[in-house]
Amino acid sequence: MAIISQEEAKKILEKVLTFSKADEMSVSLSGGRTSNIRYALNSVSSGGEADNMSLLITAGIGKRMGSATVNEFNDKAIERTVRRAEEIARLAPENPEYMPMIGPQSYLETPMYADTTAKMDAEARAQVAFDSVDACEQKNLSAAGFLQDTTGFSAIANSKGLFGYNKATSVDFSVTVRTADSTGSGYVTRDFNDISKLKTRAVTGIAMQKALASTNARTLEPGKYTVILEPTAMGTLLQSMMSGMDARLADEGRSFLSRKGGGTRLGEKLIDERITIYSDPMNPEAPSEPFASEGRNRTGSFLGGGVVGDGRPQEKLTWFENGVVKNMSYSRFWASQKGVKAVPPPTGFIMAGGNQSLADLIKSTDKGILVTRLWYVRMVDPKTLLQTGLTRDGTFYIENGQIKFPVKNFRFNESAIIVLNNVEALGAPMRVNGNLIPPVKARDFTFTSLSDAI
């Protein structure tokens, strides 16, 4: 599906607003396509494509709000949908937390779009699958992988003069490589905005090497160990923390950012002073959306339903600086109650690291465990951020600066806050799931049981 240009989008959105009889109206237009290829046992198992475009119209009448959606763009259809949004608003219960829409904003032009990705077709996807499978077949290994690419745009406007436009592409690739006898397994994942950055054979090679190196895993007793968490594993552990920066929950006493006795831990040192985490929509390696959205669903934000969120601009912002909580996110309602700036939650985050490579981190470790990937990580206690989950697809014992042997997978019960207090060293960050994350070496990571899973 062709992407609608900024000028065309603006014309459609302005047209919609001319029909409004509501106190205020916002409108968003989004569309695009998402395509994928999936393979397992060295053979393609499915592949397909879906595309859509839709216009979401939200009417505000007093403290009531109503939304309606349409995917036809003639005047009659648009006017009918505007009337429907207004009708839904009139019927809706009053929302005591309703906030008037915001006026014009200036948005960053984030580098999220690559023409190379937009031009991908079924043949190009088949080639990625082939490169990955072929490399594995040559070594008698079995590949199961997935490639998804999206190309889309979103535009927002409201009756107070706000207008924003963004177009973006994304590529997500992952592959699990298993030995023929299923005694070894390795994994790798990469995501980019630009498909030309994906070096399929080289990346698949990382998973192949882990699969071959992880056979005949030995048993280590569960307990507290120094660990090196590769960026993929660290990113999984950080996800809940970074999606839990909401000030209201903390004020209500139900977050790891709640202060004993009431209030939040804003300004307190919570983690090691070497830890700084910020968001930056303009980061060339991991750019993110220029306007606020409630969740991080890159695919979803393009495909219908319109842009979620209230149009607040995203800007560079520090969440943790040298271990101190510097910012928390606020809904506009909660910010108005507290008399503070309504900082939107981040759509991507960057954890600052060091210059050391993963190999350097291993070399400086007397005794420890290298963790490739964490799996099925779930919150056990949101107040302490205690999470449980397992290691997967390549877990190795390190002694005297060298990987000695693969070990059986562990279940862990650990809090990201405790890990970030026990940091020994940080490596160079890399992109994982739209974020930049370093490999992290931390002491006293709690493994509570063993798993036979490979």
């Binding site: 397909g48 859509n52 959606t69 839990g244 991080r296």
Partner: protein, 546 residues
């Protein structure tokens, strides 16, 4: 994936706040429009034929088409206010084909044009042909007779969408008020209602029209003690059901009294809200568990999730074979274990069956999403692994000629594949009540409701929490515990199952958010059981200080 993953996807995970994801490609509509009829059957048949003809003309050897209209209503409240009321409709057409021995799929939204649908079918063939050079063996599809023009619908006594929104809002806000009066600091209370209108047609000669309803009332009550910094939550003891609004009407038989009231075919939200608030406050003062071995007595509102993770997923044939290796994982329940006919998955009181026909269950439909009539079959019999869950392109690997009928796609825009049927633990054959079961336990914990959950990618090692934990000493419940989670290994755990209560205690739990596949799809599935006892399970204490 379960409901909390959903909240994590939305970036609300830490909060435990329950907000549903907007279904893909859905449009917002009025509550009244939820009741408008969809396309007439002759129109759907014409569209379906256009797709099937276009696919075969381009060289497809098999094609199926799904014309789906997915209607959802969410009513979301917190404390004394409505957060949102969302009515959505998602309509479109998905075409799946086999060409050159390879699957291909394409979908298109919001169209009633035969040309659009034909073009989509052609695109599916194009994908199949482009990918065919990368297959090892051509798809081998189990034969399926056509059923002609047939239909099926969920039994509906009180249609959810016919109940005025105001009545739903009043119910939720009344429940929230009761919880606040009884000691809750916060309440998030949501009602999900779903109607899937699905029309399936295939080159086998089936034209199947189905009308599927589901409902899930769901709240979380939170109690906070700011002075101590402690927080406790208690989720509703409701279950998502393959029912309509009638689930919210209770008959006396639906209420199981005991240490707390549990529910069967009908749910009393107001009564449960009061209990939840009182119990959340009690949890703040409950004794922190001493880690060690305990005999566990597990209520069906809890066990469903352990069954889901350790039996439901482990017996999916696509996982066993390696098709899900990159994300969901594989399975320890390998083919050789099944072939041996003596793999002790559990003790001899453990019997699991899969089914897509149990009335009121989430999996209950007449035909699956590839036109196979649904049924019931055994997975584990007297503790021995006897079968898997498999669909048309897999059953030949089990030496069978007929699919088990558990193929599903969560939208017209996603491709159908093997999804979990309802997998349930059969009730014990001997008469046994929960009180009688507890009377024999010396050192144990009685767990009600589902909590945190995690299992490895081959389904060996798991950890589960819960909502309510009662300490059992010498056959008596002596008080509440907190910070409880148990860890075990699937085979060890089901072999430690020594007793299962009889059918009088049989109830279903379930989830709307069983996750699998890439791109990820959800599936609604129920799991029934009676209260069951497991001996000597490892319990850990999850309390931490940060």
């Amino acid at each position: 994936m379960n409901r909390r993953d959903f909240t994590q996807t939305l970036g609300l995970g830490a909060a435990g706040l329950l907000l549903p994801k907007m279904p893909a490609l859905a449009r917002t509509i009025t509550a009244e429009e939820l009741l408008e009829p969809g396309l007439d059957i002759p129109v759907k048949k014409r569209l379906a034929d256009a797709a099937l003809n276009a696919a075969t003309a381009k060289g497809a050897t098999y094609a199926d088409v799904r014309i789906g209209r997915y209607l959802n209503q969410y009513v979301m409240t917190r404390e004394n206010r409505v957060q949102n009321i969302i009515n959505t409709e998602s309509f479109g057409v998905g075409v799946r084909v086999i060409a050159n021995g390879c699957w291909g799929f394409a979908a298109i939204g919001d169209t009633q044009s035969e040309e659009d649908v034909a073009r989509t079918a052609e695109k599916a063939v194009l994908f199949a042909k482009a990918h065919a050079r990368l297959i090892k063996k051509p798809v081998q599809l189990a034969p399926q007779k056509g059923f002609g023009e047939v239909s099926w619908k969920t039994k509906v006594d009180k249609h959810s969408f016919e109940v005025p929104v105001k009545e739903k809002v009043d119910l939720l806000l009344t429940a929230n008020g009761i919880a606040l009066q009884n000691g809750a600091n916060f309440v998030n209370n949501t009602l999900f209602m779903i109607n899937e209108q699905k029309y399936f047609a295939s080159t086998d000669g089936s034209y199947i029209d189905q009308d599927v309803h589901r409902i899930w009332p769901n709240f979380t009550v939170t109690a906070v003690d700011k002075a101590s910094g402690l927080m406790a939550t208690r989720d509703s003891l409701s279950a998502p059901m393959g029912r309509s609004y009638d689930y919210l009407q209770t008959a006396p038989a639906d209420r199981l009294t005991g240490v707390t009231t549990r529910y069967n075919q009908g749910y009393d939200m107001l009564e449960d809200a009061e209990a939840a608030a009182k119990q959340a406050r009690l949890k703040l003062k409950a004794k922190s568990v001493e880690a060690g071995k305990y005999d566990l007595v597990l209520d069906p509102s809890h066990t469903y999730l352990t069954i889901h993770e350790s039996v439901g997923h482990a017996t999916e044939l696509d996982r066993v074979l390696g098709y899900e290796a990159n994300l969901a994982g594989t399975s320890f329940a390998t083919i050789d274990k099944w072939q041996s006919k003596k793999f002790n998955y559990g003790s001899n009181v453990v019997n699991f069956f899969a089914d897509k026909t149990q009335p009121g269950s989430l999996g209950d439909v007449g035909w699956d999403d590839e036109g196979v009539k649904t049924k019931r079959w055994d997975l584990i019999k007297d503790g021995i692994l006897v079968n898997y869950q498999a669909i048309r392109d897999q059953v030949h690997m089990l030496g069978e000629a007929e699919s088990q009928g558990c193929c599903y796609a969560d939208s017209w825009s996603t491709v159908q594949f093997q999804r979990m049927a309802n997998v349930s633990l059969a009730p014990g054959k001997e008469r046994l009540t929960v009180d009688e079961m507890i009377r024999d336990v010396k050192k144990g914990i009685y767990i009600i409701g589902d909590g945190s959950y995690s299992i490895d990618q081959q389904r060996y090692n798991f950890q589960f929490g819960g909502q309510l934990f009662y300490e059992i000493k010498d056959g008596q419940i002596v008080g509440m515990l907190r910070d409880v989670a148990y860890q075990s290994n699937t085979q060890e755990f089901w072999n430690s199952c020594v007793k299962v209560c009889d059918e009088r205690d049989y109830r279903m739990g379930g989830t709307f958010f069983d996750g699998k596949g890439q791109p990820a799809q959800i599936n609604s599935v129920s799991h029934g059981s009676s209260t069951a006892r497991f001996n000597g399970v490892n319990v850990l204490n999850t309390g931490r200080k940060i």
